[in-house]
Structures are given as C-alpha cells and as structure tokens.
Amino acid sequence: MNEMSGPGELDCHAVGERLWDFVDGELPAREMAAVDAHLEDCERCFPVYRFRQAFLEFLRCQEKSEIPVGLRRAIFDRILEEHRDMEAEAEGASLWERLRKAALRRIE
C-alpha cells in the first residue's frame, strides 16, 4: 500500500479513507489489523473512530417504526386473495389445455 509509513503501518490519511469500512468490519483482515494498530497510538484518528462508532450505535438503537394497525391483517387478506386467484388461473390453464387437446384430437 502506498500510504504505508513503515512495514504494516498506515498514515492518518490512509486510515481516514478506510475508517468507515473499518467500523463496518468490511476491510480485508490485513487492513483491519493495520488500521487497528494505527488507532492504538494515534490521538488524532482515535476520537474520529470513536465518534463514528458511537454515531452508528446511535442510529441502530433508534426505535423501529411501528407497523400501522390493520396492515398485518390487510396484507394477509391480500395474500389469501392472491392465492385464490393463482389457483383459479392454474385451473383455468388446465381447463384450457384439456379443451385444446380435445380440439386437436377432433382435427386429427
């Protein structure tokens, strides 16, 4: 990596570019270790890392929106209705196929 200041070391700019990926655990193992090592000693980057981590924790702990009253029932009713339509279509297709075959036999 070009931003290495020593074997396995990253500078602040390189860490800054990787910090979100680091917080998300989405870096390759070697880069995770390199960022981790940098954060242990860097008074500039560590507070930024802690802030971003706290920000994501804050977002994730927000209360989930409540599903409106009646929507669960409405969706289930719609699913049942759709299932009946699909069965009717299948029966219709089956009937159509039988009529088609009967017509072909008469022609032959």
């Binding site: 979100w20 802690r50 920000f55 804050f58 977002l59 927000q62 929106s65 969706i75 759709e82 299932h83």
Partner: protein
C-alpha cells in the same frame, strides 16, 4: 405450489415474519409517507407470493423481499413522476453541489455521547427521510436494517463499491443534518 386452501406453508413461515422489516424499508423509501409505504408493502408480498417458487430455501429471505420491495418502490416512483405527482426534493436536486467536508472536520470536537444527547428519534427519522434516495436506501439497508455491503449490493443491484460510497456519503450528510438539528432543535 402448496395445498389447496392457503399459500405455501414455507411462505407463511419464512416470508410473513419479515412483514415489519419490509414495512420499515418501504417507509424509508417513501420518505415517511405511511400510505405509500403500506401500498408498497402489500404489493411486495403479493409479488413475493407469485414468485415464491424462485426463492431458494435457506438463503436470506429478508434480502430477497427487500429486493422486491425496492423494485415495487422504483416502479411506483416512476409512475408518479410521469404523472407529475412527485418532484425531486430540494436536497436531491442540490446534492451534487454539496461540498465534501474535510475528513475530520467537526467530529473530533464532539464528545461522543453528548453529540447525540438532544436528538430525538423523530429527528433521526426525518433526517434519514430527507436524504436523496440513493443515499437513503444505502443507510436504511446497512445502518437501520443491518445488511452487509454485499447483501445491500444484491438488493440495490449494484457493485459493492457503489454501496460503500453511497453509504459513506449518506452517513456524512446525515451527520451534518443531525449536527444542525442539535444546534437548532
């Protein structure tokens, strides 16, 4: 398909429990419009039932439903835009001109906890809903619904790198919005 008299058992067991998550996603896609979100959620489950035979058992059902939900939202948005019912939000129109902040500007000054102490849940939701849709969906999928970059990329049907850049940009915009909220509640 399943037995007569009802949808497949597997659909009821795997897809229906994701109803709350699908509604939440639809709500964020529609920027808090509950009526639109309910329509999108209903249509999502109808389409999911119709294409249930294509779902590979044992894979991530939530992500599969999220993909359908997104497609329903995009189609609905296209129809509404054509009808002139939907205008691009001011933030969407301006997002290309938003300056990129220096990497560490502002964040190092805030002690972690007090940075968010006065921000309400409603303010967070409203701030997410104000994001341009590309950033809003990345933040919603990864930060609110806990999908990985790869899972979100499958839902959005784009490269992982695109998810990454939209997510990081979305978070930056969200932070700016919430910082302004904290100063002017």
């Amino acid at each position: 398909m399943g037995e007569r008299g009802g949808p497949p058992e597997s659909f009821l067991e795997e897809a229906l429990p994701e109803l709350d998550a699908v509604y939440r996603l639809a709500l964020r896609f529609s920027a808090g419009d509950s009526d639109m979100a309910q329509d999108i959620a209903q249509e999502t489950f109808v389409r999911a039932l119709r294409s249930w035979s294509t779902f590979r058992q044992g894979t991530n059902c939530r992500a599969w439903l999220f993909t359908i939900c997104r497609n329903v939202f995009l189609r609905d948005r296209e129809v509404r835009t054509r009808r002139g019912e939907q205008s691009i939000s001011r933030m969407e129109a301006e997002f290309d001109t938003l300056p990129a902040d220096p990497l560490f500007a502002g964040s190092a000054d805030d002690p972690e906890r007090s940075a968010f102490a006065r921000i309400t849940g409603e303010a967070v939701t409203a701030a997410v809903d104000r994001l341009p849709v590309e950033f809003r969906e990345a933040v919603t999928l990864c930060d609110l619904e806990d999908l990985s970059y790869a899972e979100a990329a499958e839902v959005i049907d784009c490269p992982v790198g695109t998810v990454r850049s939209r997510l990081h940009r979305g978070r930056k915009l969200l932070q700016e919005s919430l910082r302004a909220e904290r100063r002017n509640p």
